[in-house]
């Protein structure tokens, strides 16, 4: 209840806020921040709980975006179907990555996920149906209830954020989370103690991938455009990993704090300074945090409270 009452309040707020007469830009920027909340939360399930560093969030995000585009272009599917399809593709890709990298840990796993990102980008660059290298313009369907499509997408992403956090929290507090943490500390010891390490790893890969895929689904509609380089951009990696680590990896609340802080800061820097500078800010913050405060903001807060 301590979790669910605030969660439902935030959900209602996220859905109702876009109905209010607030400046459109708030939702335009807020949508991106919420996307990073989902991405960082998803990254945390594999990276924070199980200790597997995924450098390939853009692969999952991108496959979600392209799945949505294919569904939209081929059968004019509504957004909900696009998101479901994207989550399915992301989950399948996660499962595939898990199976392919069974024996890999640490940097090998991380590099394999980078490889998958670039291979998917190359595949999409060469696939004419989804626009290939030049990209594809998309016409947004009319929107009901909300004043604009962006406002509607904000509400959808708010819902997905709450959903993703609820899933991450459930995993963390159940036996699944304990199993994943034992994977992180010592895979051999966990296996020897009867923890189903393989199944848990595949499960974490699939859930994390599905959430990232879902987060990518509305992006083409948000931009009214899709092209491979920006969809499979490694800056999504910095955002997801940075959000989780800066907030505090390993706890479900960490990525929320980190992603909201980072995302908001990025939006401010993009507007006031430049787009390049916002990536630099995240990179610098990421390095500062892994060096000086490895437990993230949550860890810092815990230290202050304990004193």
């Amino acid at each position: 209840m301590k979790f669910w009452i605030p969660a439902i309040c935030i959900l209602v707020l996220g859905v109702a806020l876009p109905l209010a007469p607030i400046n459109e830009y708030v939702f335009y920027a807020g949508y991106v921040v919420l996307t990073f909340v989902v991405m960082a939360t998803a990254w945390n399930i594999l990276g924070g709980y199980a200790g597997y560093v995924n450098f390939g969030p853009p692969a999952f995000f991108g496959i979600g975006s392209y799945a949505a585009v294919v569904l939209f272009k081929s059968m004019n599917a509504p957004l909900a179907v696009q998101i479901a399809g994207a989550a399915l593709m992301g989950g399948l890709l996660g499962l595939g990555v898990g199976v392919l990298t069974l024996r890999l840990r640490g940097i090998f796993f991380a590099i394999a996920t980078v490889a998958i990102t670039f291979i998917l980008e190359t595949l999409m660059t060469n696939w004419r149906y989804v626009g290939g290298a030049t990209g594809l313009q998309l016409l947004r369907p009319p929107v009901e209830l909300y004043e604009s499509y962006t406002r509607m997408l904000f509400a959808v992403m708010a819902g997905m954020s709450v959903g993703a956090v609820a899933i991450a929290r459930y995993i963390q507090t159940s036996w699944l989370g304990r199993g994943l943490r034992s994977l992180r500390d010592s895979e051999e010891a966990a296996e020897a103690s009867g923890v189903p390490t393989l199944k848990l790893k595949l499960f974490a890969c699939a859930v994390s991938g599905a959430l990232m895929g879902a987060a990518g689904a509305p992006m083409p509609m948000y931009l009214s455009f899709i092209e491979p380089p920006s969809t499979f951009n490694l800056s999504y990696t910095v955002g997801s990993l940075g959000g989780a680590i800066i907030g505090g990896a390993g706890h479900w609340a960490g990525p929320i704090v980190g992603a909201i802080l980072l995302g908001t800061l990025q939006q401010i820097v993009t507007v006031t300074v430049s787009g390049e500078m916002n990536v630099l800010v995240v990179g610098v913050l990421l390095v500062v945090f892994v060096v000086a405060a490895p437990e993230g903001i949550l860890g810092l807060a815990r230290k202050i409270i304990r004193r």
Binding site: V53, A110, I116, F118, I119, V279, L286, V290, P294
Partner: protein, 291 residues
């Protein structure tokens, strides 16, 4: 369309390209292969070397290759400092160094890349020298002169480093630290100092590799992303820390990439290194000449 002539040309070009790939990977082969440092920032540091070469060559009119040699000591010191910092903050504390060490080098790569964009913009940069733009022909084949220069430097670099590791005191110490660090400690040697030299050498070599990169093709800041695939593919395929293996693996990648380029076109080329890397990781993670 498939022709023997075209295939032969692809092979020749692939061999040249392969040597170049071996040379750009040799620094990583030391830092990651021998020292187990998750140095994903290696390609970014190499591109930094390209820009340093470009600045020096453009300002002073020096030959880019000479400029590359001149910046090596600066990069050596930079490498020593980076390793010192990495050791003090991650390796020494031990716990969870995997996730944090990776995140550190990934963040470093991004800072270098974006720093270059802020300093020099996103435009492509290239250097000039007598051998750039000319080509060397025998029979019907034409081979760009700059590939031959890169090929020669690559061979010197790979064999030089290989001999250095095999027959000098410091080189053997570096191999020893890779083989059995606790034993080295028991012998009264300081593994951290040896590793910092090794990392410095790896970084210095990357600077020269960066100079070759800008000789072979124009360079832009985000180029390091592609080279994550190429360098890691070569190092993993070689088997961690094997110098001659690095040359062999570079040749394999160069030939495969060149054949794919000729047969399927440039749009498929980026996937070759990453695809090969995935195949190696999936089938034989210890590589061809794994230790």
């Amino acid at each position: 369309m498939f022709s023997l002539d075209l295939l032969l040309e692809a092979l020749v070009f692939g061999v040249l390209l392969g040597c170049f790939y071996a040379a750009v990977s040799i620094g990583l082969s030391v830092s990651f292969g021998l020292l187990d440092v998750p140095n994903v920032a290696h390609p970014a540091i190499m591109v930094l070397g390209s820009y340093a070469t470009w600045v020096l060559a453009a300002r002073t009119g020096l030959d880019p290759l000479l400029a590359g040699v001149l910046i090596m000591p600066v990069f050596f010191v930079f490498g020593v400092l980076v390793y010192r910092f990495y050791y003090e903050t991650f390796e020494r504390r031990g716990s969870e160094a995997g996730v944090r060490g990776l995140a550190f080098f990934f963040g470093l790569a991004f800072i270098v890349e974006v720093g270059l964009i802020l300093a020099f913009g996103v435009d492509q940069r290239s250097v000039e020298a007598a051998y750039i733009g000319r080509s060397f022909s025998f029979g019907d084949y034409r081979i760009p002169m700059r590939m031959i220069v890169a090929f020669a430097v690559a061979l010197v670099l790979t064999f030089g480093l290989s001999i250095f590791l095999r027959s000098t005191f410091v080189g053997r110490a570096i191999k020893a630290v890779a083989q059995d660090e606790p034993a080295l400690r028991l012998m009264g040697a300081n593994p951290v100092r040896i590793k910092q030299w090794a990392f410095g050498i790896a970084t210095g070599v990357s600077a020269l590799a960066g100079a070759m990169l800008i000789i072979v093709s124009p360079v832009e800041p985000a180029m390091d992303r592609l080279y994550i695939g190429r360098t890691f593919c070569v190092v993993v395929l070689a088997g961690l820390g094997s110098m001659t293996g690095t040359l062999a693996a570079g040749l394999i990648l160069g030939v495969v990439e060149s054949v794919v380029l000729m047969q399927f076109g440039a749009s498929w080329a980026p996937a070759v290194a990453f695809g090969l890397l995935l195949v190696v990781l999936g089938i034989r993670p210890q590589g061809l000449f794994g230790r």
